[in-house]
Symmetry: C2
Subunit: 433 residues, 2 copies
């Protein structure tokens, strides 16, 4: 083969980083790895974006991505446009044209993976997506290759830098959510529209992708319970700190041997200060795998950003190029990732956890007793209670429970919240041990 030709679609942040990294590494790939990679096309509507980026002399720049991905000599199409609109159409077309595809697009894989993997299998090409989860950290490769000898029993992950930054700042400075978000936006750690990050959607996309790989079935994002961090207050973070915990937004995946469904969800949790994930702060990410043979293995690093994400995209390009050299498009089968093979997610009600409950109540005699009684009638044991001496009329009572089912806890809360002494909804945070 004379050369393996790459078309990069999109020269924004990640696209620009990928082009720079390819340009720098192409000669290493050729000379040391024997991979004759060539950046044949860059497709970008905003030609201004390309002014800062130097391109190899033999790279063609086009505004119309279709020209690049339909070009006869292109072997690998790298989709770095983002979103699920035009990106989905272009990836579909590329696969129909029998091009291998590399993408960093988590929303695309989480929402349209079944359609795209099916199409790739049918066309005999690969769709690689390492950069879609955890930026530069190897997560997809760890699940599909490094831990392939294991049944992976659980994954607990901090995979959204924006939320982790906000929660780290709130913890460190005792600041409230809204001010911290605004500061994060000012510093460029949060988008102008932060919805996808702070409401947990981005973590959800990544969690759904990893859960699918773990189970060997399609775990649908839409079926997964997702809670973001908007409801977390400085008060909760302070209480957690005094109890020896930090609050993190995590993706949780748990698989029980013999069970056909998978427990996959996204929500804030309290982690004990000595939990390995408790010290993962600021914009950094970490994914903790528990394999039945290997035990706990964690990868840690920058989960986003121009060059970290480009690093993962380029590692996929090299993997796909190695597959092309070997005519080995079936190296990592993805045929299970279909609508027809959709996984059942464990019902929320059946989740078992320890809980942090913060009740907002009238400062009257007997209120704590009533709450404790109601919890007891629902079979929920109390591990510890914190109520502070206070002159004000409305106070917080914090209760940590022993392990209980979510159903029992929700039932108890409904009963407690119906009482006239209770002034607001109860804050509920699950404790992950």
């Amino acid at each position: 083969m004379d050369s393996i030709n790459i078309a990069v679609l999109g020269a924004g942040t990640v696209g620009g980083g990928t082009i720079k990294l390819l340009n720098k590494q192409l000669s290493f790939f050729q000379k040391k790895l024997g991979l004759p990679l060539r950046l044949a096309y860059v497709a970008e509507k905003n030609t201004f974006a390309l002014e800062e980026i130097s391109l190899p002399a033999d790279t063609t720049v086009v505004e119309d991505a279709e020209i690049a991905l339909r070009a006869k000599d292109v072997h690998i199409v790298v989709e770095l446009i983002g979103g699920t609109g035009i990106a989905r159409e272009l990836v579909r077309t590329a696969l129909e044209e029998k091009k291998h595809v590399v993408t960093a697009n988590k929303a695309l894989i989480a929402h349209h993976g079944p359609e795209l993997f099916s199409l790739a299998e049918k066309q005999g090409v690969s769709l690689y997506f390492e950069a879609s989860v955890g930026g530069g950290m190897p997560t997809i490769k760890t699940i599909r290759e490094a831990l392939v000898g294991n049944e992976i029993l659980s994954v607990t992950s901090i995979i959204n830098g924006t939320c982790n930054y906000i929660l780290s700042e709130m913890t460190e400075k005792g600041a409230d959510f809204n001010n911290t978000l605004r500061e994060a936006q000012r510093l460029g750690y949060a988008e102008a529209d932060p919805t996808l990050d702070i409401e947990g959607g981005d973590t959800g996309h990544k969690n759904a992708i990893m859960a699918s790989l773990l189970l060997g079935k399609y775990v649908s994002y839409d079926d997964m319970k997702i809670e973001g961090i908007k409801g977390l207050t400085a008060e909760d973070i302070a209480f957690a700190g005094r109890l020896g915990y930090v609050i993190k937004l995590v993706g949780i995946i748990k698989k029980r041997a013999g069970e056909k469904c998978i427990d996959a969800r996204v929500h804030p949790v309290m982690l004990s200060n000595d939990h390995i994930l408790a010290n993962v702060s600021d914009v950094l990410n970490a994914v903790l795998f528990e394999g039945d043979a290997v035990g706990p293995v964690m990868v840690y690093g920058p989960g986003a950003g121009e060059m970290p994400t480009a690093s993962a995209v380029v590692s996929d390009i090299v993997d796909v190029a190695r597959n092309i050299m070997a005519q080995d498009e079936k190296r990592i089968p993805m045929g299970y990732y279909t609508e027809a093979n959709k996984a059942t997610i464990t019902d929320d009600a059946e989740i078992e956890s320890r809980y942090y409950l913060r009740f907002t109540v009238n400062n009257k005699p007997g209120v704590l007793g009533k709450i404790a009684d109601t919890l007891a009638t629902h079979g929920i044991s109390i591990a510890s209670v914190m109520q502070e001496e206070n002159e004000v009329s409305i106070v917080s009572i914090v209760i940590l429970t022993f392990t209980a089912t979510e159903k029992n806890v929700k039932d108890a809360l409904q009963e407690i919240e119906a009482s006239e002494e209770v002034e607001a909804y109860t804050q509920l945070i699950r404790i992950e041990d």
Copy 2:
């Protein structure tokens, strides 16, 4: 291909784990990954070792490893005997017979890698060795695949569980080295002959292997500076703790852009308590990579043990099987790992570091001044000093320096130690920031 036939040589701890894991996963590999793997042979002289392990019905047990590795239908030979004697002969023979080889043997790769990789290249087969560094954590795969788009600028690693356990215990309990070693031996965390672990050889083997992959040249174990942990005292660990540091045995690899040599060494270091590796305790391992694109990426997990190591061996077997299915024996070229392509290691004298120096001196006026003067004449600046009020005649003075070259520090120490007020050799520990 009807089946890909595996011969496992050695059914000790890792061999036994590998056989168990293969036996459990073979049907998954066949059905889900399309890899028709079969455990064709197990070679083990001590038949007693096999009594506890259930084998597939079609596995042949032999006492003579040569029978297994010469068998016509065997494709992958898995060497889990250890050491560099018989294991080397068997791996050579297997490669000569054009069998792919998977090994967990770090000493073999570090000492005889050049001979074995050359032979493998010549014969058109692969030699895989993920389990040789970091047990179940993906380290080789991370360097060769996940970070292939990066120039990896440094690797700092805690990769010997025995040393990490001993140092963690000494730190936690204030205990001395010899008692802690004996306790570690009693608990099975240290061998009866602990030399290879505590003198840094095991860390050295792993560090030499990683350094070779980083540089794309053969970094010889024999050329590398290696210091173990025998000389560390409870006093040093206590001083470090009060200064906000922990002491760890690490492998260090640093590559400077444009330089032809590599800084590769093994010795104890002081790590600030907020260093990401400072909290890696007990028998756990971690490897921190710094890539020019990705930035810092760390993998963390169990670096040894039956099933974690088996997990890495099995991931290699799957990789090699995927290569065999694709007739892709050149997927990861190792042709650079030769004696002819041997790397130059940075001269010790040129190392730059901050230093912890503990002087043992007569408790007389003027001694500290003399030491400080001598350091100054060698261009070494003092960052902090700790000397405690004490009635005894011989005392410790601890000095932390700013960055200095090893040559200047060693010259200064030689001069200081020649003085009659100095009662013992100076303890020197490098500080890694």
